[in-house]
């Protein structure tokens, strides 16, 4: 089966997941993002690459941060941005998801930025557009269920490359709730595709997927051993509804075992960087001293995120013409 996000010539028509994306495509996106970082530092933060195009932010699940960064990215490219917060599940509205899409395509949408609580929703939309010969309308996955968050993965890769240059000599630790994390899945696929020799997943068994090793990671339950010698430490967000219950006894015990403190960070390499996709739970997965410390690159991640999203939107728009 062909990867549904590539056309027959191997060009990106949708961005749905980093899994199966060739390294050249990932590198092209990262390279394209580089000049966009400096645009943000100018007085006039706009380029006309997407002038006249309509980008629909289609958020079936609430998100302020991701929606805002996509909105900024699209506006800096001079696109018209339409925000639709559909909130509830597609089925409860009486209109099916694909009916919604057909209606918006009839309004001449050029791009959909889709956030959905169900894994695979953007694939369903992309497959529908491909099947009905409307692949000139592009789909960007802005996070689907536990499955993927490819622009977050790309901005994480951009950040790592910015500080560490070569992926082929890195040891990266991803700590926390990998089971429910689309961020972790996307980052793991991106890192392994770019040749990172060692990716570690660190967490309790309740928060790691059963077959996590098949993603190409080493598993550690002891964070001390897991952080040993790492170049990059990526902390994952722990959703508040998972802090107590059958997955974990308490936020306090979680922090004791898997919270990133200055003492634990000392086990990583002296120049290790600390990342977090945000929003952070201080005192749950990360100590403030680390979050605000010299090795934290959490705020640069946000800045790079806009550049990376500009790169994705402009590359997709380019593939249409």
């Amino acid at each position: 089966m062909r990867n549904p996000q590539l056309d027959a010539a191997g060009n990106l028509t949708h961005l749905l997941t980093l899994e199966g994306l060739p390294a050249e495509v990932i590198v092209r996106i990262l390279d394209t993002a580089v000049p966009f970082v400096s645009i943000a530092e100018r007085d006039v933060k706009k380029v006309p690459l997407l002038r006249g195009r309509s980008v629909f932010n289609l958020f079936f699940e609430n998100s302020t941060r991701t929606r805002t960064t996509f909105e900024i990215a699209a506006k800096r490219l001079s696109a018209d941005v339409i925000n639709l917060n559909i909130g509830a599940s597609s089925t409860s509205k009486g209109e099916t998801l694909l009916d919604t899409i057909d209606n918006l395509v009839a309004m001449n949408a050029d791009m959909f930025v889709v956030r959905h609580s169900q894994s695979g929703a953007p694939h369903l939309i992309a497959a529908h557009l491909n099947r009905t010969r409307r692949a000139h309308v592009h789909v960007v996955n802005a996070g689907d269920g536990r499955h993927a968050h490819p622009t977050q993965g790309l901005l994480d890769l951009f950040t790592i490359r910015h500080y560490k240059q070569d992926f082929r000599r890195l040891r990266v630790a991803i700590v926390g709730d990998v089971l429910h994390s689309r961020v972790a899945r996307s980052l793991i696929h991106g890192l392994t595709t770019l040749g990172t020799p060692e990716v570690r997943a660190i967490g309790p068994k309740t928060l790691l997927p059963t077959a996590v090793r098949t993603l190409g990671v080493q598993v550690h339950h002891d964070m001390h051993a897991g952080l040993q010698g790492c170049d990059v430490v990526v902390m994952l967000r722990l959703q508040s509804e998972r802090m107590r219950g059958a997955l974990l006894p308490s936020a306090g015990e979680y922090f004791k075992h898997y919270g990133l403190t200055p003492e634990k960070l000392a086990l990583a390499k002296p120049d290790a960087i600390v990342m977090h996709p945000g929003p952070m739970n201080r005192g749950v997965e990360i100590d403030s001293a680390v979050a605000d410390g010299a090795r934290s690159v959490i705020l640069p991640q946000v800045t790079f995120g806009i550049a990376v999203r500009m790169a994705v939107l402009s590359l997709l728009a380019g593939s249409a013409g």
């Binding site: 089925t91 099916t96 894994s119 694939h123 369903l124 497959a127 269920g145 997927p209 059963t210 077959a211």
Partner: protein, 424 residues
């Protein structure tokens, strides 16, 4: 009407028949096999040269969607699908709306089905009122109305105490209980097998232990109560091993597998194909191999279609929201033939899984061809291949993971009680 089905390859697994012979049908029954009865004159002759003539197929799991889900399918559409697939008897699970928990509903369904004059319908009654898993249904009344067994369909029965009581009560009157083995707690919220694919795709998962825990519970309660249990839709390698052991122990259990589980595994979900959203979930390749071995060696008694017509609106949704199930009545024979050909199973052995075996499990006089017994007959061309496409399916449900696949076995004619109800 006197009908002569001439020169076909007559395969009747129950009686060990596999030879070229002519079948004579009169007054709804088989009148003779081989030689015409004295003074015979046919009103009609069906030339079955090069075709297989076998007992009409029996499908123990076909959802007809009535009452309650007529927008997904109707009795008319699904009964046509049945006979087009060579199925002349079918059992339908109680998960209608309302569920089949009252004799009146069962009588109405039987009456509606009879008036269509196509396949015979054998309703399976609800084990508990409303399938809620709390109170027992009036099994005696339901059996009188025509229920052949009692089941929870896909509704969970979380309370083991209720399950024990239901089994004791059913055993008292000799009713058979059908159960789909799945621990309700481990199964809750899951949509895919707990393995590599669910990990990659981020799909909520159902571990194999959901099936094995339920099997262990059921077997313990069977030992306790002596009730006859039919296990529906086995899906795991460990489950097959447990059933093998239970049979070696001579527990009164039988079991089935859905035909799609013989061909597909979780990898076929690909990029979230909602057609592969099935219950139980498609499992790993090793599970599929064990199911194929289990049906070949008799651990699994029979193959069913688990026919579930689903409308497009309910299917074309993100994987986890898509309604589970696949249409199957018209694919039961082709997919069973495909399995048999690939695994070197003979045609009579394969057909036994669709005729004599389900008849024995249901305890009905069907699934064989004998003089004086009902002439339910399936005539098919084992060499004819066809492509599964929405337009060729008579079922209102076009939902199947096999769309586009070329399959062997085309039904040429179907007879129910001596009448030709389908021809192509």
């Amino acid at each position: 009407m006197k009908i002569e089905i001439a020169n076909g390859r007559l395969i009747d697994p129950k009686h060990g028949v596999d030879r070229v012979a002519t079948l004579f049908v009169a007054a709804g029954k088989v009148a003779a096999i081989g030689e015409a009865p004295a003074g015979w004159s046919s009103k009609r002759t069906i030339d079955a040269t090069g075709l297989v003539v076998c007992p009409g197929l029996i499908d123990v799991a076909a959802r007809l969607r009535e009452p309650g889900f007529e927008y997904k399918a109707t009795l008319e559409s699904e009964m046509q699908a049945a006979v087009a697939g060579g199925v002349t008897s079918l059992a339908c699970p109680p998960d209608t709306d309302p569920p089949l928990d009252e004799p009146g509903l069962v009588q109405m369904l039987k009456h509606r089905a009879r008036s269509l004059n196509q396949a015979h319908v054998f309703p399976v009654g609800a084990l508990t009122v409303g399938l809620k898993g709390e109170e027992l249904t009036e099994m005696g009344e339901l059996a009188e109305a025509g229920c052949v067994a009692f089941s929870q369909a896909e509704a969970p029965l979380a309370d083991t105490g209720v399950l024990l009581r239901a089994m004791q009560y059913a055993a008292t009157f000799g009713h058979r209980v059908w159960l789909r083995p799945q621990d309700p707690h481990l199964g809750r919220g899951g949509v895919a097998h707990d393995g590599e694919v669910a990990t990659r795709l981020g799909l909520p998962a159902i571990p194999a232990a959901a099936e094995t825990i339920a099997l262990a519970t059921i077997f313990a309660l069977v030992r306790e109560t002596g009730v006859r249990v039919h296990l529906c839709r086995l899906s795991t390698a460990e489950g097959v091993a447990m059933v093998r052991a239970a049979k070696a122990e001579r527990l009164p259990v039988t079991c089935d597998v859905a035909v799609h589980h013989l061909h597909l595994c979780d990898v076929d979900i690909g990029w979230f194909d909602p057609q592969c959203r099935l219950v139980p979930p498609l499992r790993a390749t090793r599970d599929r191999a064990a199911l194929r071995a289990g049906i070949a060696d008799g651990t699994i008694d029979l193959v069913c279609s688990d026919h579930t017509p689903v409308d497009d609106d309910a299917k074309q949704l993100p994987f986890g929201e898509a309604e589970p199930g696949a249409t199957g009545l018209e694919l039961l024979l082709p997919l069973t033939l495909k399995w048999a050909a690939a695994d070197g199973v003979t045609l009579p052995a394969a057909l036994a899984r669709l005729t004599s075996q389900p008849a024995a499990m249901l305890g009905i006089d069907a699934g064989h061809l004998a003089v004086g017994h009902a002439a339910d007959v399936c005539i098919f061309d084992p060499e004819a291949h066809w492509t599964v496409e929405p337009a060729v399916l008579r079922s209102q449900g076009k939902n199947t993971p096999f769309l586009g696949l070329e399959v062997p076995g085309r039904v040429r004619a179907t007879l129910v009680a001596g009448q030709v109800v389908f021809e192509s």
